[in-house]
Symmetry: C2
Subunit: 336 residues, 2 copies
């Protein structure tokens, strides 16, 4: 099923069930008001939501209305956890190659992950507010999952059983703040402002055979200022699957219902054409494009985003249908 959260002026919005084709929606009133409530009591509430979803898909829901992504908050407008991995090691390899540093061998066995802020997420069509263009504004197109409860010490297989929903994310990054921040040794903080999520969160059965081995075998599309810049394959090159990412968190703590876990920038290896590397699938963040330019030309030529720039992130299913709806955002300055 597909779930979204409609803006209603409250902090948590109103849970709605959305039809498979994203054409219609229905308030989940009477079943659950908020998505977190459904996640807190999933085994009891999700079958009721599923019933409403089936009725909606059959065109028989009595109070259905046209679904409008612009009225959506993030499916979880705020969450108790947002832990973002860097599961596509190709991305790390490119960024490191550009600054001529090796990838440590442990990076292939031990996931990179940072804890993100989760008190103020953006809806799929909300503006990205950044105080200065000098911060080096970048998008990052990612896949994320929402978990149920997963116990401390869980294996990757057990952790995978804890996945409840999947969403797309734009993990906005402020690249020019990162070097100083990482030099301090405590990881990302100011360089990672509010993250945006897709209009709907979907259960894994919506992915059909594209969900295999804890990975999504589909293509993530990124369109920057109307130009398609990424058609990245999210499947086979994901070094760590979602069960491994969740188990990484569980090494020293419990993961509780409603935690969001991200894949990091989706990234694909180059192919060799006439003895030279090319990246025909494009990129899911500008930093990677700049790393490629640096490797090829000695310096980056693509600039980061400016005010007025737009980004669209979407994933199509095997029949070409939009699975999650599109993230469509504009970069704007902070109102004074």
């Amino acid at each position: 099923m597909k779930l979204a959260t409609y803006k209603d002026g409250s902090r948590d919005g109103q849970l709605v069930v959305v039809s498979r084709d994203l054409a219609t929606a229905h308030y989940a009133t009477g079943i659950a008001e908020r998505l977190q409530q459904a996640l807190d009591d999933w085994n009891f509430i999700s079958p009721q939501l599923q019933d409403l979803y089936d009725t909606l898909n059959h065109g028989k829901a009595r109070h259905a209305f046209p679904f409008d992504p612009a009225r959506c908050m993030a499916p979880l407008p705020r969450a108790y956890q947002w832990a973002d991995g860097s599961a596509y090691i190709n991305h790390v390899e490119l960024v490191r190659a550009a600054r001529k540093s090796e990838v440590p061998p442990t990076f292939y066995t031990d996931p990179l992950m940072y804890q993100g802020g989760s008190d103020d997420f953006l809806g799929p069509c909300d503006d990205v507010v950044v105080p200065s263009e000098d911060f080096g504004i970048d998008f990052e197109a990612e896949i994320t999952v929402v978990t149920g409860d997963v116990r401390m010490g869980a294996t990757p297989d057990e952790a995978l059983e804890g996945v409840r929903l999947m969403m797309l994310a734009n993990d906005v990054s402020l690249r020019n703040l990162i070097p100083d921040e990482l030099a301090k040794g405590f990881g990302f903080f100011q360089s990672k402002p509010a993250t945006a999520f897709s209009p709907v969160a979907v259960t894994l059965d919506e992915l059909g055979e594209a969900w295999q081995g804890g990975r999504v075998h589909l293509t993530l599309q990124s369109t920057w200022n109307g130009r398609r810049v990424g058609l990245c394959d999210a499947g086979p090159e994901m070094t760590f699957h979602f069960g491994q990412l969740i188990a990484h968190i569980c090494k020293t703590r419990n993961v509780r219902a409603g935690s969001i876990v991200g894949s990091g920038t989706v990234s694909n290896k180059s192919v060799e054409v006439n003895g030279k590397p090319e990246w025909p699938k494009g990129y899911s963040c500008i930093a990677e494009k700049r790393a490629i330019e640096t490797i090829l030309d000695g310096k980056p030529s693509t600039e980061f985003m400016k005010y007025g720039d737009t980004i669209r992130i979407e994933m199509k299913g095997q029949n070409g249908e939009s699975l999650f709806g599109a993230i469509e955002q504009e970069i704007v300055p902070l109102a004074s």
Copy 2:
């Protein structure tokens, strides 16, 4: 006023109002079920809680019962944000001196801060579950505040206006996991398991004149296995006050109601006795004691915590009364 959350089998527990002397409590039923709810609508709900608090303190609350810290969850059993600073630069100086590295000049003007997990906090008397003693188990005695909404771009003074409540915390740290984790460059993650909080959260008026300039001018006590090891002055040596810590978060994002912001380990400078440094106020984490030993003797001699060890963290007011109640925890292994 003083607020706590009683265990009731649910994820968020039941909000209770606690008397100033921590002797009695009263359910806030009819006003607010949960602390987050009060924070979400503070201007409307807090005066009602204050009325109940006044009635309780006058011994006139009709359904008052004896207050029992062992029945408490963390005041916020789960939160949308836990951002922990390292505001006592003396702590950083000691740790760096022990490994013969300089403190970068920017550390005196730009706060260190990491994003912590906030989906699964511990109550004040809950066991600290750690899968292995080899992880280097340490306590960290800290002061924390809970905020209301603070806008992106807020000044330190504005940010200070956003402080709603104060709590103590035990920011449990797994020291032997830290070097590898920091070497990866993404900051703390597995080295920071679930954090514990004091039985009650208090409004700033409870601190009286001890609350000045965004700092608490009182002594934080740490008692390890029954031995008083820290009597640290939380006031004048706090390099960055809470307004500055919150404003640090606000540089690139909004801070939303219910965010918890921590001071980091409370730490005091040495005094010179017969030409040698001494630390008569003790320490608020074992890592600092080991840093001092390394500076004085070339190597640490105090070991980290073992299973069965206990830690008690408390702060007394100017009249010797316990302000927040005590954090009292035992270290235990993960049940297999």
